[in-house]
């Protein structure tokens, strides 16, 4: 075994670092570090910068514009962009839909949609969850009934992240209600401007508009927008979910959040001493630092064993559980670290150009809301309980 990077890997890391130093706008990195609001323009700006370098669709095959990275290079890229406080790449088009299209889509779908995902023409959102089908996705009820050259879609999706920005939604819909619940599901691409599509915001506990409900009323979708075969959508959905989880440990972002937490703990005072020197807080910090370092290695092991493709389900479930627990604990400690200044909430302070007087330390404004926002991590993408079921199935074979 050799945990050190080889010369090529060091050269690649240096290349990524140099790129981030030169091209990641400080303004965006500050927003990420301080948990300030990123709007659509911010995210599009970062996507465009990565695309210009050929690094946006970095999991894509070379023939479709991917960079052909090794698993180690992917890991380096994720770690370095995280550490630099780069905004996350919004995954819906790039790392959820695109792999499905590339593997199961028609040539026409690939030629039409893939370039538009890369250049930002189309913003995609995900239509999986429904009010009655969250982690139990196979219970979904949104129906698509064939009518000539079209499907007629009726139903409701929910928890649609950043759906308010989206031009298109990829949906799981029920095309055959008479068979077993995992069968009879199809994978459909729907233009959000089609009559009968309605997006309603859901405001989360931190007061932010991040997710939505999407309603479909007699929405007519051309049959050419079906991906793969009718009633085979569950296969594609599972493929997508395993892809979604390869980056789910979020090691780079957690390393950065932890570094910032250490800064806060070194700055905040308790009885005239830095909080980082308080034995109880120091122990909490050390535990999370150790777990994070372990996670970093676990993540690298899984990525390399998977050869850069989709991680096996049980391993990605482990990464999802432990990665999200660690991230949540970091936000928990950050919230505790600022003490009573976790309580004030001035929403405008999270916007760019706010020049009001900060309440407490200037890094305090976004911390408690970030803590609350990140409670989602153990719920979405299949709750951590569902992930434990996946591990159980793989290990117990029951």
């Amino acid at each position: 075994m050799d945990l050190a990077y080889g010369p090529d890997e060091i050269a690649f890391r240096d290349e990524v670092r140099a790129f981030l130093k030169e091209r990641l706008p400080q303004r965006l990195a500050d927003k990420v570090r301080l948990n300030h609001r990123l709007d659509k323009a911010d995210l599009e700006e970062w996507h465009a910068i990565l695309n210009a370098r050929g690094w946006l669709g970095n999991h894509w095959p070379v023939e479709w514009g991917g960079p052909g990275w090794t698993p180690v290079q992917h890991n380096i890229f994720d770690t370095e962009t995280g550490l630099a406080y780069a905004p996350r790449i919004i995954p819906f088009g790039l790392s959820m839909l695109a792999p499905v299209l590339i593997k199961f889509g028609s040539d026409e779908q690939k030629r039409h949609f893939l370039p538009r995902i890369l250049d930002g023409t189309d913003w995609w959102c995900q239509g999986y969850s429904e009010p009655g089908a969250g982690s139990d996705l196979a219970s979904l009820r949104t129906s698509a009934v064939r009518d000539g050259d079209h499907y007629v879609v009726n139903g409701q999706k929910t928890w649609t992240t950043l759906g308010q920005y989206a031009d298109w939604i990829f949906c799981l819909v029920r095309t055959d209600p008479t068979v077993k619940k995992q069968e009879g599901i199809s994978f459909l691409l729907i233009d959000m401007t089609t009559p009968g599509v309605e997006v309603r915001p859901i405001i989360l506990l931190d007061g932010e508009h991040e997710v939505n409900e999407v309603f479909f009323t007699d929405v007519r979708v051309p049959v050419g927008n079906l991906v793969g075969e009718e009633n085979k959508g569950w296969t594609y959905a599972k493929y997508l979910l395993s892809y979604e989880r390869t980056g789910i440990a979020g090691v780079g972002a957690s390393l950065a959040a932890f570094a910032w937490l250490q800064h806060i703990a070194a700055t905040e005072q308790k009885r005239g001493r830095p909080l980082a020197e308080d034995p109880y807080f120091a122990a909490r910090l050390a535990k999370i630092e150790i777990e994070l370092e372990n996670m970093r290695t676990t993540n690298a092991r899984v990525l390399m064993a998977s050869g850069g493709g989709a991680a096996p389900l049980a391993e990605s479930a482990m990464l999802k559980i432990r990665g999200t627990e660690i991230r949540q604990e970091i936000t928990n400690l950050a919230r505790r670290a600022i003490g009573p200044f976790a309580q004030p909430f001035v929403s405008e302070a999270l916007d760019e150009g706010f020049n009001g007087e900060p309440i407490g330390p200037d890094y305090a404004a976004g911390i408690a809301s970030d803590y609350f926002n990140n409670r989602k991590l153990s719920i979405f993408g299949g709750s951590n309980e569902v992930q434990r079921e996946i591990i159980t199935k793989a290990t117990l074979g029951l």
């Binding site: 075994m1 890997e9 150790i290 690298a300 390399m304 432990r322 591990i391 029951l398």
Partner: protein, 375 residues
């Protein structure tokens, strides 16, 4: 970056694994572990002939390994078979002796002719490496030692005992500690042996003007001891990971087959989630053991942080894995008859060797401050 062992190491693991499966089956192990001697000189010699001791030392000392992952691969196999032979003491003392140029002795050990014990911890010491009170006094012929050493694994088995003692300074100071070799049967040497709860034997050593030969430079052994303990922690971490794998496999098997209320108990979600948590925590423990092995031959601060992180992790997850394995087995998990209970005991007691999780968490924090000061 590469997470595969090279071919030589894989072959060594296969060889040792096959030997242990053939010759160190669980009933054999239990007979040895509970015997009056608490180890088997015959097994020791046979394993030495296979090259297992040689794998723990570098070429300069007559071995053919000695790296972090050599230790890892050996102790992983030893852990899976719950071997009680005196490998840990031989590893730690041998590394000190090899570092001091005592290659003759190390070569004897590699050939199976010598067995070492590492007698460092004292009754009051509680894992603090610098809390040494045993006193060394210069004499015309060399040195004599007086003091006491506690809970030394396989002390009675050792032909040579490596003892730390103060040549100057006060208890708690890093400076002034030296290392000595004491031979079995030396005058003033008393060994009180006893069985250990997890098998094999340990012993209390008392020294009363016992003649001893100094090893290495006088007064500067602290760094050498710290490095030897780091190697010992890598060994324990891999032993622990192997035991966790055994516990996991046996528990999964039990959950699949044991029926309650007409169905396998593994169908119950409460048990499934506990098993899934143990499974993912074991992967974190394995990662910490990998990190420690990788850091063993590097610079001191990185090495010590990685071994303390691993020992903390192994302590925390080891207790979890042992307790959950017993709980998920129910009453049968409490029985002497079931091998699992012995694996659980060994895993738990590894937490008491070379520093428990609290000790190493505190140490990890202090090393972090040191890193901040120097870096």
């Amino acid at each position: 970056m590469d997470f595969h062992h090279d071919d030589d190491r894989r072959m060594l693991a296969d060889t040792l694994g096959r030997y242990l499966a053939d010759r160190y089956a669980f009933d054999v192990r239990t007979r040895i572990a509970t015997s009056e001697a608490g180890w088997s000189a015959e097994q020791w010699r046979a394993m030495a002939e296979l090259g297992i001791v040689g794998a723990l030392f570098g070429e300069a000392a007559g071995g053919f390994g000695g790296g972090g992952f050599d230790i890892a691969i050996v102790f992983e196999q030893l852990g899976a078979a719950l071997v009680v032979e005196p490998f840990l003491g031989t590893l730690m003392a041998g590394r000190v002796l090899a570092g001091a140029g005592e290659t003759d002795l190390v070569e004897q050990a590699i050939g199976g002719g010598a067995v070492f014990a590492f007698a460092h911890g004292e009754p009051q010491g509680r894992y603090e490496l610098a809390d040494i009170r045993t006193a060394a006094t210069p004499t015309a012929a060399g040195w004599t030692l007086s003091g006491a050493k506690s809970v030394v694994p396989q002390l009675e088995a050792a032909s040579h005992i490596l003892v730390s003692a103060r040549t100057s300074g006060e208890p708690g100071e890093e400076a002034g500690i030296s290392l000595f070799v004491v031979e079995k049967g030396a005058p003033g040497l008393d060994v009180r042996g006893y069985p250990m709860i997890d098998g094999g034997r340990g012993g209390e050593l008392s020294l009363d003007d016992t003649p001893a030969r100094i090893v290495g430079a006088e007064g500067t052994a602290y760094a050498v001891i710290e490095a030897a303990v780091a190697a010992g922690i890598v060994a324990l971490a891999w032993e622990a990971v192997a035991i966790m794998d055994v516990l996991k496999a046996q528990t999964i098997d039990y959950l699949r087959t044991r029926q309650q209320f007409g169905i396998p108990i593994g169908k119950f979600q409460a048990l499934q989630h506990r098993m899934a948590t143990v499974a993912l925590e074991i992967e974190q423990a394995r990662s910490s053991a990998i990190n420690a092995a990788a850091a063993l031959d590097g610079d001191r601060l990185a090495r010590e942080r990685a071994v303390s992180a691993a020992k903390y992790t192994i302590g925390r997850i080891g207790t979890l894995a042992a307790e959950e394995a017993i709980q998920l087995h129910g009453g049968i998990g409490m029985t002497w008859e079931l091998p699992l209970s012995h694996y659980a005991k060994r895993l738990t007691l590894i937490g008491h060797q070379l520093g428990d999780e609290d000790h190493h968490l505190e140490r990890f924090i202090e090393l972090g401050r040191e890193l901040g000061r120097t870096g």
